[in-house]
């Protein structure tokens, strides 16, 4: 009697576990719930720049993207047709709307559109550069002691000169940040007026090696000084410039280093030995996105919180993708030759080994 009761109990227990499990499986099958989104990269087209003889000319205006691959600049339509491919004379200022291919001693600058047609030429003796949006054009003195902003019609808007050599420059929206060899940082507005000047302190030798201004214009950052070298972030509140973070670094660079805020200004990326340092602005924590060799390409897929790096070591270029908290997502050795990477609205434009590729990135 007692043995039978025990058997019944066991049977009851088995049924008690199996039924709920079966129910859960059934619910999952019948009503699937997403556990998270995955990114998919989809190659859209590739152009072999070594084989293209005659660039495609379309009478209809197409949306184009500019690129520089080694000593060549060009434009590709988003549908994968090459619009222009041109050898760089000495340097090139490039935006999606046009370019200036300039000589070593430029007496005048010639602005051309993505089809290579002359738009305008203006008398300027410095070296030109567009900002990231491509809407603003700066001309740097050839002795690196000043710069001016000119309109695309060639009219000078403002100029500024410094009692030192410019080491670093970044323009974002209506703010321009200039780093100097004397350790000074100057933040100027779109009319050329100096909003703030500061010299990050705490280093034996003051010098600015890299600088970045955030997209909101509310934060600026610099890699500065020697002995020790520091990553410094300043917060701008009205007329006040307040140091928000100052982190001692292990590096002792004596050249310009890459430094850039993330799109949301929450992170600061900067070159460090062995990789790209990531400073979390709110917490002050630092991480490293490991990388070998020299950084040759950087882009951030802002909404998707992914960072793509191209580094080169001994002629070998490697593309790495990181989620921005530091996990390596993928690593790919690129074909030999110059490389380029930039963001597109739908993904990225990647150039390597004489090829140009559009890769769309989507979540699904």
């Amino acid at each position: 009697m007692s043995a039978r009761r025990a058997t019944l109990k066991r049977r009851k227990a088995k049924g008690g576990v199996l039924v709920p499990v079966a129910l859960v499986v059934l619910i999952v099958i019948l009503f699937p719930v997403s556990l998270g989104r995955e990114l998919t990269a989809r190659p859209v087209w590739a152009i072999d720049l070594r084989e293209v003889q005659v660039p495609y000319l379309d009478p209809e205006p197409l949306e184009t993207v500019g690129f520089r691959l080694g000593d060549r600049i060009g434009y590709a339509a988003l549908d994968g047709q090459l619009k222009l491919l041109q050898r760089v004379i000495y340097g090139a200022a490039l935006s999606d709307g046009g370019f200036i291919n300039f000589s070593r001693i430029p007496g005048s600058l010639v602005l051309q559109n993505p089809d290579g047609e002359l738009v305008r030429s203006f008398s300027q003796c410095g070296y030109p550069a567009f900002d990231e949006s491509g809407d603003r054009l700066f001309v740097f003195y050839t002795d690196a002691t000043g710069l001016k902003e000119i309109t695309l019609e060639g009219q000078e808007l403002w100029r500024i000169e410094f009692p030192s050599v410019i080491t670093s420059f970044h323009s974002n929206g209506s703010r321009r940040l200039i780093g100097l060899a004397n350790g000074g940082l100057a933040l100027i507005d779109s009319s050329g007026a100096v909003l703030h000047r500061t010299t990050p302190d705490g280093s034996r030798v003051p010098v600015i090696l890299g600088c970045s201004v955030g997209s909101s214009g509310g934060r600026i950052a610099a890699v500065s000084g020697i002995g020790p070298q520091k990553a410094v972030i300043f917060r701008i509140r009205g007329d006040e410039l307040k140091e928000e973070r100052s982190i001692e670094l292990a590096s002792s660079y004596r050249r310009e280093v890459f430094g850039r805020f993330s799109h949301d200004e929450q992170l600061l990326y900067f070159e460090q030995p062995g990789g790209i340092g990531v400073l979390d602005v709110p917490s002050g924590g630092i991480d490293l996105l490991p990388m070998e060799g020299t950084l040759t390409g950087f882009c951030e897929l802002g909404d998707r919180r992914i960072v793509l790096l191209i580094s080169e070591q001994k002629g070998r270029s490697v593309l790495r993708g990181y989620c921005r908290i530091g996990h390596l997502l993928f690593e790919e050795t690129l074909a030999e030759g110059p490389s380029v990477i930039r963001t597109l609205e739908s993904g990225i434009l990647l150039g390597a080994g004489g090829r140009l590729m559009r890769i769309d990135v989507a979540e699904g």
Binding site: G91, A93, R104, I105, P106, Q124, C125, G126, Y127, P128, A129, F138, F140, Y141, T142, D143, A144, T145, G146, L147, R159, I160, E161, F162, P163, S164, V165, I166, T167, S168, F169, H170, A181, N182, G192, V194, V205, V207, L209, G210, C211, I226, R254, R255, E256, V257, F258, E271, T294, L295
Partner: protein, 319 residues
């Protein structure tokens, strides 16, 4: 064969025209004799092709240019604080200085060496000493960046005062040994003189007549650099104007200081646009011409101490 310039021998192979050893010895010896507060020339054969505050088309050039391909040595003991190599590494903007080195010296002075030959740069050791025999150069002067021919752009910066210093001040040169009088220049030349009134330039010549009234006095003043395949105009060191024996204007290019976002001549607060009417026409200020005889004296002094003057007698009559 044993040579006292063992380290330099490999550099020689790179050189198109090797520097004569006797010049190099004299140059290195000068570094030993260097007065404490001075700097030595950064190249063994300083051939001045452009002077301080030269007209760079739209701004003052805040340094001097020394022509030819030569080894470049630190102007004094110091520390490398910044380097850039043309076409290499990350650069956030296009650099007209090409490959360059910035040194920090005691006393808050920085020296800048630009247009260097990239492949010859030896900047691994950040600490540099006053060059001694056998020391390798920082690099060779080259033509990287916006260089017109081979040469070195050399700048001195006073960090405390926030100004570019003229390394070849005539009366208190910062580079040792000073330029020998008349050796580096032909000139200076005081050329044509103009009066600008209502946007019109009226040339003033000796014995000429001018209408009474106020106008802006413009003068063509320059020296000619003697080192170059072709003659190059260089800026004078000092310009002096007197009217009827009374000082009316004086400009000395001792340093360029930043003022409201512009580099100005420190002793006059004149910016580039205030001083230059065009490529080599200096604005000397406004002058009032009253009826009668007027004597205008314009004196120019070049960096090596040579000077010249021009005196013009004018007869001023009412309109």
């Amino acid at each position: 064969m044993r040579t006292p310039f063992r380290c330099l021998s490999s550099w020689r192979r790179l050189a198109l025209r090797p520097v004569p050893r006797r010049l190099l010895v004299a140059f290195l010896a000068s570094a030993v004799l260097l007065p404490a507060a001075s700097f030595n020339w950064p190249v063994p054969q300083p051939r001045l092709v452009s002077t301080f505050a030269d007209n760079s088309i739209d701004h003052f050039q805040p340094g001097i240019e020394l022509g030819g391909r030569q080894p470049v040595y630190p102007a004094a003991e110091g520390e490398i604080v910044f380097t850039c190599r043309e076409g290499e590494g990350y650069s956030s903007f296009p650099r007209g200085i090409g490959s360059a080195v910035v040194l920090q010296h005691e006393g808050g002075i920085q020296s800048v060496y630009a247009h260097l030959e990239t492949e010859s740069m030896r900047v691994d050791d950040p600490l540099v000493r006053t060059p001694a025999e056998g020391d390798p150069p920082l690099a060779f002067s080259g033509d990287t960046g916006a260089a017109v021919g081979q040469g070195l752009l050399f700048m001195l910066i006073d960090l405390e005062e926030g100004e570019f210093l003229n390394p070849i001040k005539h009366d208190k040169p910062l580079l040792y040994p000073p330029l020998e009088s008349g050796k580096s220049n032909r000139g200076p030349v005081v050329g044509r003189l103009f009066l600008k009134r209502g946007g019109i330039l009226e040339e003033l010549t000796d014995g000429s007549r001018a209408a009474a009234g106020e106008g802006e006095l413009l003068a063509e003043i320059y020296a000619l650099s003697t080192f170059s395949a072709f003659l190059r105009k260089t800026a004078p060191y000092r310009i002096y104007l007197a009217k009827n024996g009374q000082a009316a204007a004086s400009i000395a290019f001792e340093s360029l200081r930043e003022q409201d976002g512009r580099l100005v001549v420190a002793d006059s607060s004149l910016g580039f646009a205030d001083l230059f009417e065009d490529a080599w026409l200096y604005r000397l200020g406004s002058i009032a011409l009253v009826e009668g005889k007027i004597e205008l004296q314009i004196k120019a002094e070049s960096h090596d101490g040579s000077e010249s003057e021009r005196i013009i007698d004018l007869t001023v009559a009412s309109e």
